[in-house]
Amino acid sequence: MVEFFQFVIGGLAVGSIYGLVALGFVLIFKSTDVFNFAQGDLLMVGAYLLFTCLATFSLPMIPAILVALAMAALIGVLLQVIVFRPMIGKPLLTVVMVTIALSLIIRSVMQIIYGAQERTLPSRLPSDAFTFLGLHISRLDVIVMAVTAVTVTAFALFFRRSKLGLEMRATAESVEAAVLSGIDANKVFILAFGIGTATAALGGVLMGNLQTVSPQLNALGLLAFPAAVLGGLTSIPGAVVGGLIIGVIQQLSIGYISSTAANVVVYGLLLVMLLVRPYGLFGRPTVERV
């Protein structure tokens, strides 16, 4: 029984990262209708930016994280203005193709700048272990889960209470109606990309601490999509919950069956759930007009 909960704790920690990436992804998708294939690569960028802040600029950990997130947000804003603003109104799959191409470019450029080998962060967040109710928990796992919880709460408050948040929600519902109400849609799009990229970068920062900084980090982006869909593509807290569920199921599958079966189980369950509830756990059914 202890073993089971140990797997669950591990899954929650891993799932928090999936949730963060999925969160940024859903935010961008909901606000700008861009299905961002490059979300995993933005996570990788975040990890490398943290490495540069720590190694080249020699900042202490917390300021380094903040600077890395700010730089990532700036990159997201630039991407929106340069690449995605001309794509407004174009068909969904065309935009998907652009994000695929962007993913290729980001990966290649990162490898040219930093070289292809993996890097270890010069200093890291504390990762010592302690026991709690018979379970072994790493301090870093707790930090990851806490950061994710704080982020989700901050987002919830932002979207519900602040003026900007309301503007973003309005634009997500209908761009035309929002513009007619006097909301600056361009500002909303920029904000969405900036925050979405920063969230991915936050995931990268945490991954760099959990593992290493390598060009293969972008593979995490793959699990963001099912997490987002599981939670319902229109729900931001749903994305995080989806990520947590996938993380837990993955670890339980690895633990009780095998590593190769884990993917099959995750996607199999996802398939079953979609057949039963096609809009995800928290999604609202969209009414289509004929």
Binding site: V96, M97, V98, S108, V229, L233, Y267, V290
Partner: protein, 361 residues
């Protein structure tokens, strides 16, 4: 101008097209000798002039054309987003392994069997499409991808060990497929057959109903088109072609492992049809040519740059693959921003510009 339905279904709509087709056929038949001897009509060519392309790359391009056409049929013409492409390829590989490597069956029969098994699985996989739409269907086919991979890996480790499945050299009716030249002709026939079949399918009622289902399924149902049945049919036909292509693919390579069927594989084919032009047969061809040959061409151009050139030379020598990636990515973004309908759209614009000159806008 077409005055009746029969005229519209004709393969060659104008006499000019017959001429161009014959010229094209002649060029295609002469191509292997150009690439093998690296000379055209006796005039020698350097590797850079031939853009670093050899018959092997052309063969891969032909296979890609077959698979891309099948995917375009499903995604472009019927509007069903499916990530199961790699899974169907792997089904073709397994059927070939079971039938030929383990039990020795004639080559053509293996291809047929691979196609049929693929069609069956495809029809089954098509069932969720009756209830799921768009992105949700995408994920259910994604599940198929992992399930098929798992089955393949188990089959491979149990029967062939970790080094992969080795396929025997096939022969068609006594004609051994032992060189790139022989494979070229077989694959050329396969690509031509696929394109012809799809073109004919799409110009008759049942094919057009697929497009109707894509554009507006409620209206299509109102017109009496059995939407569910048509979707399953699209899945079945597309999977038949894809699995047969998968079998061809492993015979050509001579060897395969479960690791070959990655998500990247699927995304590559999506990229091909999006760049080429969704819902267009010419688009499948152009997209396949661009996606498979352009990286080779860029690599060749990269190697031909003198390594002692100041900044560029060093970058190209040490990070050749990455530079190719950046250029390819930028090119794709440019195409997508300026012509979302892809290469097919570019071709149509070009053709309109030439035929209607000087009145084309």
């Amino acid at each position: 101008m077409d005055t009746n339905y029969k005229q519209q279904m004709r393969l060659f709509r104008t006499r000019g097209r017959v001429v161009w087709s014959l010229i094209g056929l002649a060029a295609l038949l002469y191509l292997p000798s150009v690439l093998d001897n690296r000379s055209i009509f006796g005039y020698g060519l350097t590797d850079t002039q031939l853009l670093g392309i050899g018959l092997a790359q052309i063969n891969f391009t032909l296979l890609a054309i077959v698979a891309a056409t099948a995917l375009n049929l499903l995604v472009g013409y019927t509007g069903l987003l499916s990530l199961g492409h790699a899974a169907f390829f792997s089904i073709g590989a397994i059927v070939a392994a079971v039938l030929d490597v383990q039990h020795s069956t004639p080559f053509l029969l293996v291809l047929l069997a691979a196609g049929l098994v693929g069609a069956l699985v495809g029809a089954f996989v098509g069932l969720p499409s009756l209830r799921l739409r768009g992105l949700y269907l995408l994920l259910s086919t994604f599940a198929l991808h992992f399930i098929a991979l798992y089955v393949f890996r188990e089959y491979q480790t149990r029967n062939f060990g970790f080094s992969g499945i080795a396929y025997k050299q096939p022969s068609v009716l006594g004609f051994p497929l032992d060189s790139d030249d022989h494979w070229y002709f077989l694959l050329l026939i396969a690509a031509a057959l696929t394109l012809l079949t799809c073109r004919n399918l799409l110009s008759v009622r049942s094919g057009r109903s697929l497009v109707a289902v894509r554009d507006h399924d409620v209206a299509a149902a109102a017109l009496g088109i059995p939407v569910g049945a048509q979707r399953i049919k699209a899945f079945a036909i597309s999977s038949f072609i894809t699995s047969a292509a998968g079998a061809l693919y492993v015979y050509y390579l001579g060897n395969t492992t479960a690791d070959a069927y990655t998500l990247e594989f699927v995304i590559n084919y999506f990229a091909i049809i999006i760049i080429g032009g969704m819902g267009s047969l010419l688009g499948s061809v152009l997209g396949a040519i661009l996606w498979t040959l352009l990286p080779q061409v860029l690599s060749t151009l990269a190697t031909s740059v003198d390594p002692t050139t100041p900044v560029l030379g060093n970058l190209l020598a040490n990070y050749q693959g990455q530079m190719v990636g950046v250029i390819l990515g930028l090119l794709i973004i440019l195409i997508m921003v300026f012509k979302p309908s892809g290469l097919n759209g570019l071709w149509l614009d070009l053709r309109r510009g030439v035929t209607k000159w000087p009145y084309s806008s």
